[in-house]
Amino acid sequence: MRELNPEHVKAAIEYCGHAPFSKLISFRLTALEKGGVSRLELDLQDKHMNPEGGPHGGVYAIMVDEAAWWAVYAALDEDAAHTTVDLHVDDLGKAMGGTLYAEARVKKMGRTICLAECDVRDACGKLLVHGTSKLMVVPGLATVAQTMAKLGLSPVPPKFMEV
């Protein structure tokens, strides 16, 4: 049975942290788990807010998009690459501040089309947003490992290990 290699997960978390957009928005990947689970966090700051109150809807959408992508990544073969096809976000509650926690899980890994869902909660566990995203496996697209190597984050630890 294959498990995610903790060294690869650490490298993936670091890779996500280096990404320009994650630095701009200040979200961070905190976990990847076997079977296709990811966790993401974001500390709400003034830069995320609407003047009328609460974070801009784009903040939630960004977290769902990113978390769903990583959830599928956690279940995908090492030599495959994927891209987002769509995103659906339902706004269910308003965050007052503090840290947002996203957890995404794969519902289906298809040969081409994968589906993940994601919940975003505040620090009290209140459900703020539910979302789904479909992602497509694309032959020939650069994998995370290939991009990591290109960015000089090598050597890249193997993604899976047999247990």
């Binding site: 890779y15 280096h18 990404a19 320009p20 957009f21 630095k23 701009l24 928005i25 003034d46 830069k47 995320h48 807010m49 609407n50 003047p51 009328e52 109150g53 974070p55 801009h56 809807g57 784009g58 903040v59 959408a61 960004i62 998009d65 990113e66 992508w69 690459a81 891209t83 987002t84 096809v85 769509d86 995103l87 659906h88 976000v89 339902d90 706004d91 697209l141 650069a142 995370v144 991009t147 960015l151």
Partner: protein, 162 residues
């Protein structure tokens, strides 16, 4: 179809320019038109990108969310606020860079539930994203006029020319 006051539109554009998240993401409201049309632009730079290349999907989602919100704003009566219920974004193609042009359109202005869609095109006119959103009219939540008066840039001119 009510006619938007051009001075109010200019004030809305100025308001949008100082919304912290839109400033952060470099999203610009450039126009509001009668009947519920909004126009926005975003000039892509390295901060918006994925390591593998191409803009992060969250950039598109932010644009669809904003453009649909402003499209409904452009048709809504002056004294009510509205909020997003949901957002659906379909990725249709890769924008290579440059400026993204967004058009938001109010599809339905209901008493409570409104529906809008947004089209994002790159500089060549290629459609890269289509999205929809449902929004709810909520009496009592702050309007941007109220927010502008409270937190700046100050009171806004009347919304419509009647």
């Amino acid at each position: 179809m009510r006619k938007l006051n051009p001075e109010h539109v200019a004030a809305a554009i100025a308001y949008s320019a100082q919304v912290p998240f839109l400033k952060l993401a470099a999203v610009c409201l450039t126009g509001l038109e009668d009947g519920g049309i909004s126009r926005m632009e975003l000039t892509l730079d390295e901060r918006h990108m994925n390591p593998e290349g191409g803009p992060h999907g969250g950039v598109y989602a932010t644009l669809v969310d904003s453009a649909t919100w402003w499209a409904v704003y452009a048709a809504l009566q002056e004294d009510v606020g509205h909020t997003t219920l949901d957002l659906h974004v379909d990725d249709l193609g890769r924008a290579l860079g440059g400026t993204l042009f967004v058009e938001g359109r109010c599809v339905k202005l209901g008493r409570t539930i409104c529906q809008a869609e947004a089209f994002i095109r790159d500089e060549s006119g290629k459609l890269v994203v289509h999205g929809t959103s449902k929004l709810m009219v909520v009496p009592g939540i702050p309007t941007i006029s109220q927010a502008a008066e409270k937190t700046g840039p100050g009171p806004m001119p009347p919304k419509y020319l009647d």
